[in-house]
């Protein structure tokens, strides 16, 4: 309906490639390409027409190109039956794709220094972000981590786009042995970073948020919470997030996120309903005036 909202398309697959431990699928989807802003994701129906797998699979948009009117690429690791099915797609197959979904990364007005931190396949959205930042004259530095060398994401493009690119692996098979947060503070100091962007698994984001807090740097994180619909309908992807009014709400990662200001996300309470969250069991309305309860823009999606 709205011109910058998501669209649903039956998109032909252009290419399916192996990239180390990942598969990369590019689909022709001009309307998604044209609307896309970095940080947004898409969702794909899996299993074909009479599939017993009902739920769409969400993937970060990794690249957008103008070819064929507009193409969109996503990368994924085979995890379960849905991604296994996707890995078997071939050129010209049609995919049911909805996108772009979610709130994008906010971009700085000024050409500041940006530190981009990613873990595993979670690094995907950082690449279009890096390009967008570079177009605005920002300095970009990468810190990318993974469990092992073949799960480090697009090391070469990271090196090409960024001023510096630092890699960490749990097993030391590539770059520095350790976690991204071990490298983060040093790189931030060297690069004189002004802002941090991060995406990856929740625990990593929690550590990045902590580090950014200690360095007093604003940070934007893109979270990955299991999703049922990706469009804000099913309420399955909730994360405890502190609103402008100081109250914690169970926010939907798919429409209220996936990008949040890092200090707003209560990482330690992910997977729980914090006792002081709005409407938690035992929670009491704090005012008789319904207006006071607010209806923050974010919750409305």
């Amino acid at each position: 309906m709205s011109d910058n909202g998501p669209v649903q398309t039956r998109s032909p697959v252009l290419t399916v490639r192996r990239v180390d431990a990942y598969h990369a699928i590019t689909v022709v989807a001009p309307q998604i390409a044209e609307r896309f802003r970095s940080g947004q994701f898409l969702s794909v129906g899996v299993g074909g027409e009479h599939s017993g797998m009902l739920l769409r699979r969400p993937f970060a948009i990794h690249d957008v190109k103008p070819d064929y009117g507009g193409t969109v690429e996503f990368l994924f690791a085979v995890r379960g039956p849905g991604t296994a099915w996707l890995a078997e797609r071939r050129s010209q197959d049609l995919l049911d794709v909805v996108g772009p979904l979610g709130r994008p990364f906010p971009l700085p007005r000024d050409p500041v220094n940006c530190l981009l931190v990613g873990g595993g396949s979670g690094a995907a959205p950082l690449f279009p972000l890096a390009h967008a930042l570079r177009r605005r004259g920002c300095r970009v530095d990468f810190v990318l981590g993974a469990s092992s060398a073949d799960r480090v994401f697009s090391a070469i493009s990271a090196r090409r786009i960024a001023e510096t690119a630092t890699f960490t692996t749990d097993d030391g098979s590539f770059g520095v042995r350790g976690r991204v947060t071990d490298a983060l503070e040093r790189v931030a100091a060297d690069a004189r970073s002004d802002v941090v962007y991060a995406c990856g698994p929740m625990p990593m984001l929690g550590r990045v948020a902590g580090a950014a807090g200690r360095l007093d740097l604003p940070a934007q994180v893109a979270v990955e919470e299991a999703m049922g619909c990706g469009t804000g309908l099913c309420m399955s992807c909730v994360v405890p997030v502190v609103g402008e009014d100081g109250f914690t709400r169970m926010a939907r990662a798919c429409v209220d996120g996936p990008v949040f200001r890092a200090e707003r996300v209560r990482f330690d309470d992910v997977g729980t309903i914090p006792f002081d969250a709005l409407g938690a069991p035992g929670w009491k309305p704090w005012s008789d005036d319904p207006g006071a309860e607010g209806a923050p823009e974010r919750e409305a999606g």
Binding site: Q8, T231, C234, S236
Partner: protein, 318 residues
């Protein structure tokens, strides 16, 4: 060329433009679907069940996929009736949507309180009473599990609701005896019945060997439950042929909607499939209209209950 069928349908006092609705809790506030199509095209939009106070719901992960279905445990997360009346209901009305407001609570009083505030604010075309809420009086059971408890809730809501606004009781498929439950609700003043809500179920995570969703109780929905839901509608229609029914449970295509209509529903709601296909409701409406057209059916009402015709009777439109 067959003429375009008349899609209007009646639910007690309420006339809908067409029989396709979005099911409660599966359509957000309406805004989320409105990004994909004009929600005024639907017969009606049922809201997420509204409670008196805000509710935070259950912890994530709340969902697990199952064969042709899913198991969910959202726990009625919502902003509470006041924010709903201030923010969500006016928005639905501003879009020309027909709002079926689903109400929930922890006892007849809370249900009635919500209904009363709805009445005061106006704007609800129908009130749907979600009886699949835990009854604090009956340990571990929902109101829908005990016909007498369900009836108390329905009576309270009917008493509090505006006179012209139909009150529909929403039933569970895993009720002791769906027909007995239906009868109790109708006796308590329900103008019609919505069926079915999710069935109780759960998965066990194959790695952690823990219940999923956490806690061991979720609701199973989606095409997997469709034959169970169609069976409930069919049996209820047979027992209570005068009571208007809204059928739901796994509707995925226009042919599925036709199944529910033939089994005896006057309207059909689409739930889980909205998650899989955000345009599901309008696609299903289009498919249904086309099927009726192909059969040469003039009015959608002609197929309602068609599966109950005596053997040998004419098939509508054939």
């Amino acid at each position: 060329m067959s003429p375009i069928p008349d899609m209007r349908t009646r639910l007690a006092g309420l006339e809908l433009d067409n029989p396709i609705m979005a099911a409660a809790g599966c359509a957000g506030t309406g805004r989320e679907l409105a990004r994909f199509f004009d929600i005024a095209r639907l017969g009606a939009v049922a809201t997420k069940s509204v409670t008196l106070e805000p509710r935070a719901g259950r912890p994530a992960p709340r969902m697990s996929e199952s064969p042709s279905g899913m198991v969910g445990a959202v726990g009625l997360q919502g902003p509470g009736i006041e924010v709903f009346l201030q923010r969500d209901l006016p928005w639905l009305q501003s879009q020309g949507g027909t709002a079926v407001v689903s109400v929930a609570g922890s006892g007849p009083d809370e249900y009635a309180d919500v209904a009363r505030r709805l009445t005061a604010a106006a704007g609800a075309a129908m009130i749907e009473v979600n009886l699949s809420c835990p009854d604090p009086a009956a340990q571990g059971r929902d109101f829908a599990d005990v016909p007498a408890e369900a009836a108390r809730v329905v009576r309270a809501v009917r008493g509090a609701a505006e006179d012209g606004v139909p009150v529909f009781a929403k039933l569970a498929a895993d009720a002791a005896d769906p027909v007995a439950l239906a009868e109790a609700c109708v006796e308590a003043g329900a103008d019609g019945l919505s069926m079915v809500n999710c069935l109780r179920g759960m998965a066990v995570d194959p790695v952690t060997l823990r219940p999923a969703p956490a806690g061991g109780v979720g609701g199973v929905s989606g095409p997997a439950i469709r034959p169970i839901a169609v069976g409930c509608v069919y049996r209820t229609r047979a027992a209570l042929p005068e009571v208007p029914l809204i059928g739901m449970g796994g509707v995925q295509t226009g042919a599925d909607a036709l199944e529910f209509l033939a089994a005896g529903a006057s309207a059909v709601a689409v739930g889980t499939m909205n998650f899989a296909d955000p345009s599901a409701c309008v696609r299903i409406l289009r498919e249904l209209q086309q099927l009726l057209e192909e059969r040469g059916v003039d009015r959608v009402g002609d197929v309602v209950g068609a599966a109950h015709r005596p053997t040998g009777a004419a098939v509508p439109g054939r």
